[in-house]
Amino acid sequence: MNIEIVVAQVPGLQRPDLERWVANEWVKPDQHDGEYEFYDIDVARARLIRDLRDEMEVNEAALPVVLSLLDQLYDLRRRMHEISDAIDHTVPEEVRQKLAAHLAKRGG
């Protein structure tokens, strides 16, 4: 979807805000022939940045810090899911149960 649609979908978001965020690489739409193409994740991210700024009082000076930490958090969670998926597909049931029991014991 293009930038007009995104702005229309996210209340409280002004077009210059979104253009600045894209320029800062806080939001990374695809570009085709000078036109932005936003995907669902980009819209959700724009909404999150708006929430951070408007509802959680994270000003734009502090935003890169928050976004960097969030991106690292999601990297780790994605990797964790990948590992969990790999374990599901490669590890025998008996070992998986041992793993689960061990993790449960640690009170994780």
Binding site: P11, K28, Y39, D40, I41, D42, A44, R45, R47, L48, D51, E55, M56, E57, S68, L70, D71, Q72, L73, Y74, D75, R77, R78, R79, H81, E82, I83
Partner: protein
């Protein structure tokens, strides 16, 4: 639906600014995109933002206060769902770790931390071989005097184990670099050899001292004189005083365990045991005719 005032933790007469402040405080804590995987935060945030939507607008707040609408059923803004995209494949777009996939390095780092160093990618590290444990049986005198004993290992190697003088039962000797081979050029482990000392027919050991029961004839006990006493270092001659009774103890200074490891040589304590020997007609006749000068009864308490 909960009471929206309670959900936000504000009074019924709270100002719009109070409501906004309360909502912001809760949103910072419970925003679901900042708490991925936390269903409780998601649920709280849902209720908090619904309450905020109702109360932050003076018009709907007034309708609610007058009982014209209830807390449920008003229009909702779409819920934040960045977390659902970010955790999936689409999230790679914003990955800090680079474009995609697992690099060998990352994989190795992760697993080395998971498995505490084992299985780390990269060049193999030299590791020292394991220590090997062996037991070696030795005689009492070899342990006291020291010796060299040959030990054949399970892998066919032989070790000449030097048992130092004064070795005690249960003592462990460490032979450097005689254990299992190291890996990737690491040094061998050590061989640890526990000494087991067999008991001796007439010597017993107490630290540095050695005790011995010394059989003597009746004549030697009564008349005294030189006798030969076995010691760990070989027999020595000792003179028994005339009239030495069974149980009399003699000390041979320095004839116990030899000096070793900072300890001085111990003593040898020889305790006499009178042996009357096989029946002897002359002795029997003599004793029948013998009238002791000072008759004593050895089973009475000493009169001293």
């Amino acid at each position: 639906m909960d009471d929206p005032y309670k959900t936000l933790g504000v009074a019924k007469d709270a100002s719009q600014a109070d409501i906004r402040r309360a909502y912001r405080k809760l949103a910072k804590k419970h925003h679901p995109d900042l708490n991925p995987g936390n269903a409780k935060a998601e649920d709280i945030f849902k209720r908090v933002s619904a309450a905020n939507e109702l109360l932050s607008d003076a018009k709907t707040r007034g309708q609610f206060d007058r009982g014209e609408i209830d807390a449920a059923g008003h229009e909702r803004a779409p819920e934040p769902d960045y977390r659902n995209h970010a955790e999936g494949d689409a999230g790679r777009r914003y990955s800090r770790a680079g474009a995609g996939g697992w690099s060998d390095e990352e994989f190795g780092d992760l697993f080395s931390s998971m498995f505490n160093g084992a299985g780390r990618a990269g060049p193999p590290r030299p590791t020292r071989g394991q220590d090997e444990h062996y037991a070696l049986q030795t005689s009492f005198l070899d342990a006291v005097n020291g010796t060299t004993s040959r030990l054949t290992l399970p892998d066919g190697r032989t070790l000449d184990v030097k048992i130092p003088p004064g070795s005690a039962d249960g003592q462990t000797l460490r032979l450097h670099d005689q254990g299992e081979p190291g890996q990737n050029g690491g040094p061998r482990g050590d061989a640890l050899i526990e000494i087991h000392v067999a008991p001796h027919p007439f010597f017993t050991r107490e630290g540095q001292d050695i005790r011995l029961e010394l059989p003597v004839t009746l004549a030697e006990a009564v008349l005294g004189g030189p006798v030969e006493v076995p010691t760990p270092a070989g027999p020595v001659r000792m003179t028994i005083a005339p009239g030495s009774d069974s149980g009399t103890q003699f000390r041979l200074r320095g004839r116990g365990v030899p000096a070793h490891g900072g300890l001085t040589a111990g003593q040898l304590y020889a305790k006499l045991r009178v042996v009357i020997g096989p029946p002897d007609a002359a002795l029997t006749d003599f004793l029948r005719a013998w009238k002791p000068e000072h008759p004593v009864s050895p089973r009475q308490a000493p009169s001293k």
